[in-house]
Subunit: 325 residues, 4 copies
């Protein structure tokens, strides 16, 4: 299982459960005990649900136990707003399902958290989503009589990253959660994929929270039920692929195409070649499509639309702007 | 004392202690018991220190007891960076004095808080300062051996306003303060003045914290020693004048220029005239110079320079960028 | 006619033809020879069309001959997107009428020009509109077979202001017009009104182009049929009121409310009072509502929607994003 | 010479003359007729000057005849402002040399042009430089008596890209040049390198202008003495590496490390492997360091500093802000 080894040797964590599962299963598609996977088809997207059922499976997968729902929607990279809307609808429905699994009541206060650095393009997804969601907690608190039954209290934070604040992001969120006691946190973050086709076309939602090392390279401590005392749903979209993965994949494709080659190139040689290329940037080179700025804007708009629909089913286009800043 | 009455009738709070003091003293310059005022001259600025000594004086002034230092520096509106630097030096020195009055040790952790709405030009001063300060708490925590003696742990937050987050700003800050336990908070905020000459040319620093209703019209609850348990130093710069004050001042000037006029125009007529003008905007019209965007950028740069100098005396231009994001 | 005199003495130009006409007609509503005015009512807006028919009338009005259509729509300041859409529809229809008056063929190339300074909030309307319009000239030129009959070639420029480029804005536009020879220019600009209620709630479109001194205080040379050789349609929205007008209006209201006062206050006294207030800012103080940033964003979105509808009747929400950057 | 062939087969143009020269010379370092190269060492940078002397050499190099000066300065990626200043000084000196080679008089009007898309991070270098340069043409024209002898008329444009304006960028610039007749254009653009170490650490200046296909993938027509009638100096900094080059280089390193491998992998296999990886993004994947936003800000600041020093030798920090917007 050389790919997994390559990743582990280099300390690369797979943010997407579907990718981790596929790698573990290998070409032979063997079953992984304690991990189930199911698929659904929608008009403009395919949904794969991976459930990691126990600690042993979590250990193998390198991911916490929980339900990981992956929406694959190449249409998110095209320019058709109707397709984007139909993807947002699937996301809204899956979010509602996860909230129900977690027993979050319809009118409970939910805190949205946009993780990442608003000043670094591929890391700005979370803050961009936050700037587009309906924020209503203060309205429900101060003018409850004006709030219809189909909206709920929603608060929203973009806490920044440690390099900007000097504070561990999890600490800022923990502080805010203790003060305003939401029933659930939904955290939005940029991810890294191992396949360039997934950039800004895959959405993962999971009820296992956010765990150290996820995201585009920033070490953050965990945001999950353990650390916050409430359910944490994570929404992530890959915005980059690590350059070393691209190189590794290229080598792998080459190995398959050239007979006998895999015996010739030992793992040490391959690691060394990758290292030599990445040395000047400390392994932090990332691969993005040229149009990453606009792809991220599209993705942020889609996630915000889904959050708004899912959390406030009765806010329609007629009254939407009341809740936008 | 008709001006003060006009303000009180309209619920206008004077953000600047020097303005409140001048109004209270009136043309006759009477002494206000429990309030002292002293002046110093610097090359490019004048400093006025107003001390509100007891609750009775605080009640009269409409401001909490404490030391209010006002730096008047018209040069902040000109384009000479050398003049800006000399103003920043005075601000740095006065900040150091307030920190000493509050017994904050040289190496204690200080949390900087940029109040206000980054998406509303005249309210964005605080977040703009935060984006320019040296943030070091994480470096002192994780690589203390690399931090020289002339720097200290500094953290920095721009929590946004309630319309953006759905959460009372004071609650977010309280949460963060409890988690990372700084020795002192320094909060930066945009103010309203009653004189257009003060816009982006006056800097007020005070050790009394931030109190409800300060800032450009956003109701916030108090940020002070009472609410946070640690000293709170406030740095404020006026970025607007309420339009009603401009109108009132114009009437006042006219009254003085036309003999007998003040008897003719009673207060009710004047209030009504002002109301009629402001009605369509609910009293929220503000007066700003056309070049407000660039004036605020200059002011933010000056405050950030002063904070950096004052908090980290040994960070020089050679090593500064290590601490900037 | 003291108001008009006050304006002329101070060199204030009235950007809105309806305001100039109302002032000229005075309380007695006298007819102005060579100027006609008509009104229409729509669901969320009122439309007033002022036609300045000859040079003599132009001289009196202080505005070039032409058709000036004013859409008054307080709903532009509210948060209901459906109302915004209905206002955009009226604007689109009026634009289409002006294009027809000017004999611009349905498929002719139109150049959109966003005047103003993108770095100064109240002056940024034009560039903000430009960032939201469908740009299609290059598509019609390089992939004409993919462009349906209901779209036309549209190009778009935000040339900046002279302080940013060092070049007279009209020169940059003249240069571009000569190179790509559009059939018509539509220029979008921020205006000054004399009434705060008009800020971001009034839209003026005119077929007389843009003339020196219009806009928020920047001297620009003319953009009109004379200077460019093609029709120039101007779309303007007031984003500020000059502070001196606010003061003057306040005095005027007071004069009306206090019997006998107008005899007492002579014009020199009044001018002097206004001057004293404005001196430190050279007369450049402007009055804006606090929420000006979001009001301008709404206005820009409405104008862009109307331009897109009017210029490309067959671009619908399904294919819109193809033409947006 | 397989690398060159790989590039040509894939239509990759080498933006940097030093890279094209090195590839042509190959491992054997053979001389290329009509191309000279010389080197200088400075404290924080190395300068390589490549002169392409005749059309035959230009044909081989795939670049127009002219002088190409490359400044290699890894310090541009570090955080020391003193090092940045020393790099800017070298750039200012080399710019002055090129202006002299082109016989541009000391007081002649120079137009700066920031190429690229301000809304796409890796393509925004040019507009970012333009926002930081001293613009003085209007001051020299309207208040010449206030302009000292050590400044000159400078104008500045960021014309945008064709996707934003619908107009070929060269047409906009040609139009402006005809109207205001500068003596020389200096164009700033983001480049692509073939080595990740060069990203934001290499600066190329050339007196041959900008030629089709340069920049990050946007086809633009030429900006050179032929098309504009005046000398065009180009300043470029690589901000990306095409992903296919990274892959190719990785293969190459591997070929060298594994004995006998180069015979096994034929060019078709290699091309196919690269194609398979890039297909979903049409070959437009780029590799950037994670911190690209801040690297570009540093690079833009350095280029602007050098332009200001070089074009206005007598503008010092004391009077600099007079000329900044």
């Amino acid at each position: 299982m050389p790919v997994l080894e390559f990743y582990r040797n280099r300390g690369i964590q797979l943010d997407l459960a579907v990718e981790a599962h596929a790698l573990l299963r290998g070409d032979a598609q063997q079953e992984i005990p304690g991990v189930s996977e199911s698929k659904e088809d929608f008009e403009n997207s395919k949904v794969t649900t991976v459930v990691i059922q126990d600690p042993a499976a979590a250990q193998m997968m390198g991911k916490a136990p929980g339900t990981y729902i992956t929406i694959d929607a190449q249409g998110l990279r095209e320019s058709d707003p109707l397709i984007h809307d139909s993807i947002a609808e699937v996301l809204a429905q899956k979010l509602a399902e996860l909230l129900e699994i977690q027993n979050i009541p319809q009118n409970a206060h939910i805190m949205l958290v946009g993780l990442g650095n608003w000043a670094a393009t591929p890391d700005a997804l979370g803050p961009k989503v936050i700037s587009r969601v309906f924020v209503t907690r203060h309205l429900h608190k101060y003018i409850p009589e004006q709030m219809g039954p189909g909206t709920r209290p929603v608060s929203a934070l973009s806490p920044g990253v440690m390099g900007i604040t000097g504070i561990e992001t999890a600490e800022i969120i923990r502080g805010a959660v203790e003060k305003v006691t939401p029933a659930c946190v939904i955290a939005i973050d940029a991810l890294a994929a191992s396949n360039v086709e997934r950039i800004c076309s895959t959405i993962q939602i999971a009820d296992s929270g956010i765990n150290p090392g996820s995201g585009v390279g920033n070490t953050r401590s965990a945001l999950d039920r353990n650390s916050l005392g409430i359910p944490v749903i994570a929404i992530g979209i890959p915005t980059v692929v690590h350059a070393e993965i691209i190189m590794y994949e290229a080598f792998n494709n080459l190995r398959k195409a050239v007979p006998g080659m895999s015996r010739q190139i030992n793992d040490a040689t391959l690691q060394q070649t990758v290292n030599n290329m990445l040395m000047p940037f400390g392994g932090h080179l990332t691969v993005t499509p040229k149009e990453i700025d606009s792809l991220i804007n599209n993705a942020a708009r889609c996630v915000a639309t889904a959050l708004n629909q899912s959390l406030h089913p009765d806010i329609t286009s007629e009254n939407a702007n009341l809740f936008l800043q």
